[in-house]
């Protein structure tokens, strides 16, 4: 009995921490959507790109860990700026599906590039934080996951303060709400779009470094992008808090499903159990738990 409780606790801790790692990626998605209404289907590929940059830079002998992280940050920010200018500006007024398809196309390009340019084999990304797990009672977390949790929570704090209290954050919310009025009020909409993408790039960079360290860097790293969707849908497409809470719930449900449902049904439930929870939540709150309710006018 006590063993069962211990197991359940360990399962829960593992699920929650992985959930926060999902949130890290989801944050990038939410930032872009919140500020520019664009849905980024290539979020996983962004993380992969950051991972590649970090892995390649760290492969140089004697490079300190911070060097790799900084390189990833710089590349991702520049990349996001460039992306916003070159691809998304022309698509500004188009229907939502066009932007989705553009990001899918972009994702295909990013996935095709590594094999031609640097070779598709898997690279390890070591951050030098060691392997000995932290133990909390019966549960244990590898240090990389603890780092991920810390970074995600830090971002949560920073972005919440940013959007609520800082001048730039409020301006960004205004832009997201109604572009025309924001422009009339003298806010440089284009600059804030670029800023939003740059922030998303930052989050992707750190996500890439952490996930790359966990999984190893190769084209498959982009697959983590699929996990973003249940998280942001559950939490609300434009809510930073939603990304974190959504991640926690999804991670927890996945873990518990794998631990408790799988033995009865032969496995594999962790794949769709979070989606079932998501649909049930959506029936009650169609815009996600913390998403803004879109008021439609006829």
């Amino acid at each position: 009995m006590w063993g069962e409780i211990q197991f359940g606790f360990a399962l829960a801790v593992s699920g929650l921490s992985i959930g926060l790692m999902y949130s890290l990626i989801a944050l990038g998605f939410v930032l872009v959507y919140k500020a520019t209404d664009a849905i980024n289907f290539a979020q996983g590929e962004f993380v992969m790109l950051a991972g590649f940059v970090a892995a390649l830079v760290l492969a140089v002998k004697g490079m300190p860990v911070m060097g790799g992280v900084v390189a990833a940050l710089v590349v991702m920010i520049v990349f996001s700026f460039g992306l916003e200018r070159v691809v998304l500006r022309p698509l500004l007024g188009r229907p939502v599906v066009a932007v989705i398809m553009a990001t899918i196309g972009l994702g295909a390009i990013l996935r095709g590039l590594p094999p031609i340019t640097v070779g598709g084999e898997t690279r390890a990304l070591s951050l030098g934080i060691g392997d000995t797990p932290f133990t909390i009672g019966p549960a244990s977390l590898p240090p990389i996951q603890v780092l991920g949790v810390v970074v995600t929570l830090a971002f949560l704090g920073i972005f919440t303060w940013f959007f609520l209290k800082s001048r730039m954050g409020v301006a960004m919310r205004a832009v997201a709400d109604n572009q025309q009025v924001a422009m009339a009020m003298g806010i440089n909409v284009e600059r804030y779009f670029a800023l939003a993408w740059a922030m998303a790039g930052t989050v992707s960079a750190l996500g890439g470094v952490i996930w790359g360290s966990m999984l190893g860097v190769d084209v498959h790293l982009a697959l983590v992008g699929l996990k973003v969707f249940p998280v942001v849908i559950l939490g609300g497409l434009d809510s930073v808090l939603g990304a974190v809470v959504g991640g926690l719930i999804i991670g927890l449900v996945e873990s518990l499903a794998a631990g408790y449902l799988d033995p009865y049904v032969g496995g594999g439930t962790k794949d769709f159990a979070p989606y079932v929870v998501m649909i049930i939540a959506l029936m009650f709150k169609p815009y996600g738990i913390f998403g803004t309710h879109r008021i439609e006018r006829v």
Binding site: I39, V87, P90, L91, R94, P95, V96, V97, A98, M101, A102, I104, G105, L106, G107, A108, I109, L110, R111, G112, L113, P115, I116, G120, L226, F229, P230, I233, L237, V265, G266, G267, G268, T269, D271, F272, Y275, V276, M278, I279, L282, M283, P286, Y287, G288, R294, E296, V298
Partner: protein, 355 residues
Amino acid sequence: MLHRESGVFKTSYAADMALYPLPIARWAVAAVILLFAVVLPLSLHEYYLSIINLSLIAVVGALGLNILVGYTGQISVGHAAFMSVGAYTAANLAVHLHLPFWVTLPAGGLMAAFIGAIVGIPSLRIKGLYLAIATLAGQLIIEWVINHTPAISGGAQASIEVPRPTFMGYEMKTQGQLYFFLLFFAALATLATLNLVRSRIGRAFVAIRDQDIAAEIIGINIFRYKLLSFAISSFYAGVCGVLYTYYFGIANYEAFQIGVSIDYLAMIIIGGLGSVLGSILGAIFVTMLPIAIRLVMEPLGGLFFNAGELSSIIASTRLVLFGCLIIFFLVVEPEGLNRLWRNIRNYFRVWPFSY
């Protein structure tokens, strides 16, 4: 000049409602039918027919998805799952009950339609990307159910071998014979879609896409029509899955995973949302593009690289090229190939007097 609309009189309701009222349009359609039914199968090598066969199957699936996404405005990412529902239904009926293909095909479609309607239930409350991800949930759940129910999947391998379709005692095995088999169903699907979108149901779909609250106000039962749209679209998907099954001779859910759903979305977006011709063009384009890229790159690349390096380069370049083309299309012509074709046709409508 060629596309004369003046001087055409209609003297009955039937003539007015005809699908192709203009004589030039009827000639054009007749020529296309002649081309596909007679010229191509006699003149092309089996390999090229096999590529066309794959495109024909894709056309059926793309048409179905366009009904849901293009005409009714409900984004769905679960299309491939309905294909596997259709595929396994038909496979099980063919293998266990020895039913011929003209029974298993509609049966597969109907089963897929039923499941599709269930997956479409959230569409009443949920919209946009939220609905898209809910349909993704449907895709994953259906995959899991098939994978874990040996009664449906036929065992751990989840593959059911089906016999080749037989028509009047004549078994269809070669690419040429399968070509006619698939052409028939692709043509049927196209005709059905053309008529569907002109009908009352089609107009209701478009109304829901444009402004579903307004549609409800003027008396369209949006719940019923949304479910109907999911059901019809899934029927097409189920038929598409059955066609794949008969073409490969085996039903296997691994051929119908999320990547395939995204491929079909790409087809209708590139082809043009909300148009039949767009679905067809998009399906052909997306199916043939990787092959075309390879056919062009092979002789060119063979001049520079040896076989081993070449395959690696072609493979990655193809992916990059695919993404670039998608983005290029979206920036240049976001309404797809259909709009491109309409532009060309409109140019010739008044040519040479284009002012």
